[in-house]
């Protein structure tokens, strides 16, 4: 049986949904950030899978997405450390003061 693009899309959507569930339900900000990485990876898989059909733009764009993910992780974790230092917690539902 040949593996078609649809197969990859199914895997990607599964990852996307798992990531969404993680973002929506977990309290730990680190896990939320990881779930965001999962979502971005699902997008990447989609892009690369479609690049097999339509050309290399998808791969190029997935590289941009990875760059973006790196920037997002760095800043997100920086905020996290600053927050933990002040509040001693990294639970998302306790981060509700908009200041610290």
């Amino acid at each position: 049986m040949e593996i078609t693009t649809l197969h990859y899309l199914v895997v990607a959507s599964a990852l996307f949904i798992i990531g969404t569930i993680g973002v929506l339900t977990r309290r730990n900000v680190i896990i939320i950030l990881m779930s965001i990485e999962l979502i971005l990876n699902a997008v990447n898989l989609n892009l690369v899978a479609f690049s097999r059909l339509y050309g290399l733009q998808g791969q190029v764009f997935s590289i941009f997405v990875i760059t973006d993910a790196a920037a997002e992780a760095a800043v997100g974790l920086g905020i996290l450390i600053a927050f933990f230092r002040n509040k001693e917690t990294i639970n998302a539902d306790e981060i509700d003061l908009l200041k610290f």
Binding site: I18, L24, R27, V48, I63, V75, L77, I90, N91
Partner: protein, 169 residues
């Protein structure tokens, strides 16, 4: 040259990717989550290789696994996680979250089922040997402006991360 036993590799890698992704969001201990994330990312790198995108696979390994996850682990080690492990892991809106995710999933399924007819039937085969050159050419010729913007973004991210994480500026 055709890849070996493609379906089995595909199913194996996707199973690892999805199961570890479940592990990422289910584990109580963030370090275990991060390790599960490594497995997801590595199997995705494998899937990229199967999709004739070796450069993206290399970047995935070197940047994602070697960089971002190391950053995650680094931060987890700096933060006392013992307390967090004893707390409730899920917030109160888990039902809403699940419903939203289910709706999203249904939407995806619908789109794929409907949209499959418009995909080109035959995959474009790129010569794998020239993948890196072609991606590089595209990055530096067609997408030069986005590339420069991405580098600016990284610079901003560096400054932002330093400002955020530094104790006294």
């Amino acid at each position: 040259m055709d890849p070996v036993a493609t379906p089995y590799f595909f199913y194996g890698l996707s199973a690892v990717a999805v199961l570890s992704a479940v592990g990422v969001i289910m584990r109580r201990n963030p370090v275990h989550s991060a390790i599960a994330l490594i497995f997801t990312l590595l199997s995705l790198a494998g899937l990229y290789l199967m999709l004739y995108a070796p450069f993206v696979a290399g970047v995935q390994i070197i940047l994602y696994v070697g960089g971002i996850v190391v950053l995650f682990l680094f931060v987890i080690m700096l933060i006392n996680i013992e307390r967090m492990q004893r707390e409730y892991q899920f917030n109160k809106q888990w039902l809403v979250g699940l419903l939203a995710a289910a709706a999203l999933g249904a939407l995806f399924v619908a789109v794929y089922v409907k949209g499959q007819s418009i995909f080109p039937q035959h995959a474009v085969r790129f010569p794998e040997q020239l993948n890196t050159q072609q991606v590089g050419k595209m990055l530096y010729v067609d997408y030069l402006l986005p590339f420069e913007i991405a580098s600016l973004l990284l610079l901003v991210a560096i400054v932002g991360a330093v400002v955020m994480a530094k104790k006294r500026i």
